[in-house]
Amino acid sequence: MHGTGTGSSDPRRPDKEHRYKSSPNTQGAPDDLIPDYMNILGMIFSMCGLMMRLKWCAWVSLYCSFISFANSRANDDTKQILSSFMLSISAVVMSYLQNPQPMSPPWSPVFV
């Protein structure tokens, strides 16, 4: 069942080619917002990790920036991902430099 249809032997029309202009996403599925959400979440967690010196916040922000990197799209600008990585790594390092106590899990009431 060759897809040539009736009569016309060769369906190709080199003269009627259209270049691909990446049309806005009319495909149907809204583009997934996971990378953006994770980026914002990462920023928030690293901020509170830095301000309130909560170590588990810093670690969670590191995870968030990893996840947003994994789901990033090609046309996303890499600066945003790089900045979220820098922020979360600095949050982790800073919270350990201030006091190298081992981390207390978030459910323990002690504010380390």
Partner: protein
């Protein structure tokens, strides 16, 4: 010396509580002092021996091999060294022993590693995430390449341009990677269509979170093929055949489906598997489109075909209800096919080969839609529908458009006033103000009918 050692050892057993750690610290301190004391006595003995030796063998200087630095201990060795002055700076507590103030230094990093178990857990999690990222990324690339290589020959027979990376001279045609799990391919140069966009929406194997979410809500890799038809090659109808689950989602999400064919119909009478449902604007279209060949293919690949959506009023998902929409979104004539890649339990290559006939099915549908013409009354009905939608849209947005027009007029007037004010010669301003006054007066003046009385 042994009793002290024994008693301290004995005490240690008694106070075996959580301060044992600090207990050792104090013991060490006490031992250190004892050792110091013994050293002190030893060095004095050595000094006495040295003096005796010096006395006997003045002529032969015997190097004291015990510790050459002993002379440092001797205070007379250094001129101007005032032993009393140094000692006085140390504050004496009541028992006369020098009071030692230990500055508060936080426990150092390397005290004991095993209390950092949470950190080790976190780092291990990151390592696992990274490993899964690379594994998933390569698996996705393999699936995408397998699909492309197996379908390449068929594409080359039907399209003159395959793969377009958007650059001017298109250096590397072929699959373009949108994200780790989405690959796109643009093909163009064929009869009856402007182009065909193939979008490989694979599972997010590179993201551990999505992999785990996959266990909860299983989904599958998908191939979305969107064919942009030429304006003259497609009649005006909206038709969608989908599995029940996606039919529900599509009829809610898609603008054209929700307007033109809101209700879902059963497909038994067309001989299609029951897990499909039909959304169709004009029933006659479905009857003539679903010919025997299409029905056989759909029956054969029922589990692979997700949905088929032909529409001449396609404008993507429904826009969110923002009110400043003043004109209808532009519509395109498209054929959309969504297939699932049956990778589960099969080798990638085998699964992808199995999908080749579906691409031929796409080409067959393109030619069929090109030849398909609506009957007269169906055509009228379709046109009527489109007009009705047009009017409905105009009515709802009339208010918004009127507002927009008023705002534009306001803006123009304000700019004109500004331009006049900037003018330097006063008479032009005066003339403009007179005209403005006259216009205001005319507007305020009561509406009177001017009766022309003919002169008799």
């Amino acid at each position: 010396g042994t009793q002290i050692w024994a008693s301290s050892f004995y005490k240690e057993d008694l106070e075996d509580n959580e301060f044992a750690e600090f207990e050792d610290f104090e013991d060490e301190e006490r031992d250190y002092q004892q050792v110091q004391a013994q050293n002190g006595r030893k060095t004095e003995k050595v000094q006495e021996v040295n003096e005796e030796q010096d006395g006997e063998e003045d002529d032969a200087i015997v190097e004291d091999d015990e510790s050459e630095f002993d002379h440092f201990q001797d205070e007379e060795e250094f001129e101007g060294f005032d032993g009393e002055r140094v000692g006085s700076s140390v504050r004496m507590d009541e028992r006369g022993a020098p009071e030692i103030t230990i500055t508060k230094v936080p426990l150092h990093f390397r005290t004991d590693w095993d209390s950092f178990y949470l950190e080790i857990l976190m780092v291990a999690g990151l390592v696992v995430y990274a490993l899964n990222f690379f594994a998933g990324k390569s698996k996705n690339r393999k699936v995408a390449n397998a699909w492309f290589t197996s379908h390449r020959s068929l594409l080359e027979e039907n399209f003159s341009l395959i793969g377009d990376d958007g650059t001017k001279d298109n250096e590397n045609p072929g699959l373009s990677k949108d994200s780790e799990s989405v690959y796109t391919l643009w093909c163009s140069g064929r009869t009856c269509c402007e182009g065909m966009l193939v979008e490989l929406k694979l599972l997010k194997r590179q993201d551990l979170v999505s992999v785990m979410a996959q266990f909860i809500r299983p989904s599958s890799d998908q191939v979305h093929i969107k064919v942009d038809m030429n304006k003259e090659d497609m009649d005006s109808f909206v038709f969608c055949l989908a599995t029940k689950r996606s039919a529900l989602r599509l009829s809610k999400d898609m603008a054209d489906l929700s307007i033109y064919c809101p209700e879902r119909r059963s497909v038994e009478k067309y001989g299609l598997p029951s897990n499909f449902s039909l959304l169709c604007e004009i029933v006659e279209v479905a009857a003539s489109l679903l010919d025997s060949r299409i029905v056989t293919i759909i029956n054969k690949y029922a589990d692979i075909i997700e949905y088929i959506h032909f529409s001449d009023q396609f404008s993507g998902p429904k826009q969110s209800e923002d009110f400043n929409v003043t004109k209808l979104p532009d519509t395109k004539k498209v054929l959309i096919f969504a297939f699932n890649i049956p990778v589960k339990g099969k080798a990638i290559h085998e699964a992808v080969i199995q999908m080749r006939p579906l691409l031929q099915f796409v080409f067959y549908c393109m030619d069929k839609v090109k030849r398909f013409k609506l009957s007269k009354e169906a055509k009228n009905k379709a046109e009527k529908n489109r007009l009705r939608v047009e009017e409905a849209f105009l009515k709802t947005t009339h208010f918004v458009r009127a507002e927009a027009a008023a705002a534009r007029r306001e803006e123009k007037k304000r700019q004109e006033k500004e331009r006049i004010l900037l003018e330097d010669d006063p008479d032009k301003q005066k003339k403009w103000e007179d005209r403005e006054m006259k216009r205001q007066m005319k507007k305020k003046a009561p509406k009177m009918k001017q009766l022309k009385v003919k002169a008799l």
